[in-house]
Symmetry: D2
Subunit: 285 residues, 4 copies
């Protein structure tokens, strides 16, 4: 879920209400806040806490709320997890710390010890393009064996790695989610449990339907819906910017055009430019 | 300057006192705290503020104190800069935000607007291996033209880029510092102003002497001292770990052996292993 | 197809006969020789010509023979294509030249002008990990519009790029093949035409069956076969070596164990070590 | 030395004569042909042999001629070395094979065995940006211990690695050369033996003078000359193209403007565009 903002330090509370109702009525099965698309690392501590509080209030337990722990500081992540627990979130999602270059040894110990300090259920989050380290298959499996750990989201885009993860999560009682929505159909075919697609901010039902088609083995239907997902990706996620920044400004720009929420984006990312906004508007209309 | 720690959330205050007196009596011209070697991104907010306060108290204005702003959040960096001002630091050092992949456009605007929110003098800090973006020559020059900006530290290791930077900083009234101490002699030959070497935590006078030799054109003396710097690098900065983590655990391990301060290192980094500690002890003794 | 060798400069002709009959009786629809798995860039000119000649003789037109043009020299590629034409091959496969770092402009002109010098039908071959440049979607589409160009093999492993290619090749009269066999099932689901799997050297029928299952929409059958492909990959393609080298030595080692052909591998690659050979033997038996 | 060409398959013999006389009268101590700047990997076999023959004829033993072995095929490199011996070259220069991704083990064995098949003295050539593998310090040292091996050229641009190499070559009887001319002055300060600068094609005396200044310890003179080298680099090596291609088309364009030789550049590289040609002409005049 994107974080609707008025400026660098204030939530767009009205937009947040709209967005959450839009998502729930679209049928999504849970909310992941303060992740990459949620600009978690760009928001300051008090804003993060404010967001968790408001989201939990609005959701009122209708679907689970998962809170991203993406700070470069171990202690800050512990503090945020404590707030998430207190404010009523259902789980946390742990990404590797993004600053230092680390190996599997450092990664494993960081995550393992962070889990020990947390009371909520935990999901892992693999995003090597941004954190500079990828969970090795062995590290992921060892961490997934811990009672508190319920699953893993993989945004590596490496579908060979994903299949190897899937053969483990299928055999154990854990869940595997795909990051990039362009790979959602494929991920379901190879044994993934579901996805955490940014585009669901815009058209939640499209992604829920694609999920359901894949889960029920209706691959012809899935192929049709997947083409729509690719069309969205090739329209909304292109243009100025890089990687995740280009995805987020596209989603926020589209949501503003649809009247859902404001399109302010926290620094260092920048709003979609005029050309991109025009392309998005032509495509939506 | 490394950050002497007792554990994840407490400073080693006695060690901090020792270290600062060790550095000042070794002749260093200033202290850069909360940088990469200072594990800035691994420390939580209150610990960062605690460190700034204690350092400023101990230094008592004898040399300038520079504070690193390395958070992934713009607003957190503004808040830390305000604390640095209040607590008596002399300057801040701005690194690009480390999480999102960004281009020059995003980088320039982030730093430019951060500078506008800060009252202290500013230095830039280029460290592309850790922040995933390098200041382009044009971006650096444009930012160096701002009144508040006094110079730039380059840890890219790219000595062609460094020479191009030097030809600009020599012509303007700004300073250019080298990050990796293994390049300190060369950097002085091509027009750099000085260095911010991690090894100076251990043997401050060695680096001060090398700096003075280069500045006075005594390159024969510089060559001899540089060989000692390389020896330290090949002993202390090798072994377990990656990149900066391997440097920091080597420095802390040596400082502990020398009785200066504790060797606790914040997560995700890990202490030097036994083999490395032995190698360091043999070399120091 | 791997290239059975006795040593650095001689073909294993008996093994070559065995291998080709093994492949044809396994049902493969064509042979790609002198590609990456065929160690094309490691073989000298006369050996390359010798191989084309022998393969065409043995195959006797039963299935098409495609010849890889992977030299760093434009002129050498022209000369090899002339030999392929003369000796009876059905098509050539063009990879970007592997030495210099080039952009889309250089890539497009190199391939475009090479096509103009060739009389045989042409396939493109995208393998950025080895050639240091990836066909941009626009470059690929422009080249696929040329009459002589019949299709493209993509070994990038980037399944988002692959879907975008597929939406173009499906609409035009061109073919899209997947390189990494671990992605074969997925590639068929998103609109690919087929695959060029290295593992088919070992068990050709497995890959033909997987292809047929995907083409006929029997995804349950495809999922079962794909799991076998992953098992082969996780056994044969692991161990000593890097990337393609690790794949090739695994295939050659297995083929030797099965009595198909010799396992000599041209420099710089190296034979599978004892541990790997043992693991392979246990798995095959 | 660049390779003057009329087109993809013919030498510019008149230009070659001019260039060699220009270089010898400029004081260079040797010629490295068929290297990266010599477009070795882009030229076909017969053209390579033609070049060696003509160069040896023109030079007539006045300075040593070193021949690059940069083919992806071991056997082709052996054959080229035999020709170089027969035609009167003084040494060969071995680069890692550029196609496959390899580790130190494969690299060491490839080079070690290639040396065994060669009768001429050998230099190593480290160019990881193009060959995708860098000689580890240990591999380089082990190979430099072989009798035939006289030295190493390092184009990695990594000046920390270079210093470690220098401490070995200074202690043994081997030579260390720097690739990128922008690092020539620094390389001499840290113990390098000399350089193989592409810009010496244009102004050989500038580089000879810089070399002499460094060797005699006249660093003030060296600093002045180094600034001219940087000026050339920032004029001639910028603009269209990437990496080495951008350097080579700049050199060839300048040589054409100076009336030395033709500016044809073998595919996949492309001639300097009009803007770049204009900038070069303004700077030379």
């Amino acid at each position: 879920m994107v974080t609707p903002l008025l400026d660098e330090e204030r939530l767009d509370v009205k937009g947040l209400n709209n967005l959450i109702e839009h998502l729930i009525s679209g049928g999504v099965h849970g909310l992941f806040i303060l992740g990459t698309t949620g600009e978690g690392p760009s928001l300051n501590d008090s804003l993060r806490i404010d967001l968790i509080e408001k989201v939990c209030e609005i959701v009122e337990g209708r679907i689970p709320v998962l809170v991203g722990l993406m700070d470069s500081s171990f202690k800050e992540s512990v503090l945020l997890a404590e707030q998430a627990t207190k404010l009523g979130a259902q789980a946390v999602v742990i990404a590797p710390p993004c600053f230092f270059q680390i190996g599997q040894d450092e990664l494993y110990h960081f995550v393992d010890q962070l889990i020990d300090e947390i009371t909520l259920p935990v999901y892992l989050y693999n995003n090597p393009a941004l954190t500079k380290v990828s969970f090795a298959l062995e590290s992921a499996q060892k961490l997934l064996q811990k009672d508190k750990v319920k699953g893993i989201k993989d945004s590596s885009g490496d579908m060979i790695f994903y299949q190897n993860l899937a053969s483990y999560t299928e055999a154990s009682e854990t869940s595997l989610f795909i990051g990039p929505e362009e790979l959602l159909m494929e991920s379901l075919l190879v044994g993934g449990e579901g996805g955490i697609p940014g585009g669901a901010n815009i058209f939640p039902q499209l992604y829920v339907d694609l999920y359901s088609a894949g889960k029920s083995g209706d691959w012809q239907q899935a192929q049709e819906l997947q083409k729509k997902v690719m069309k969205l990706s090739n329209t909304v996620y292109q243009g100025e910017g890089y990687g995740a920044g280009r995805v987020i400004n596209g989603i926020k720009s589209t949501l503003k055009h649809l009247g859902v929420c404001n399109d302010y984006i926290a620094k260092p990312l920048r709003k979609a430019g005029l050309n991109k906004v025009k392309q998005i508007q032509q495509w939506v209309n």
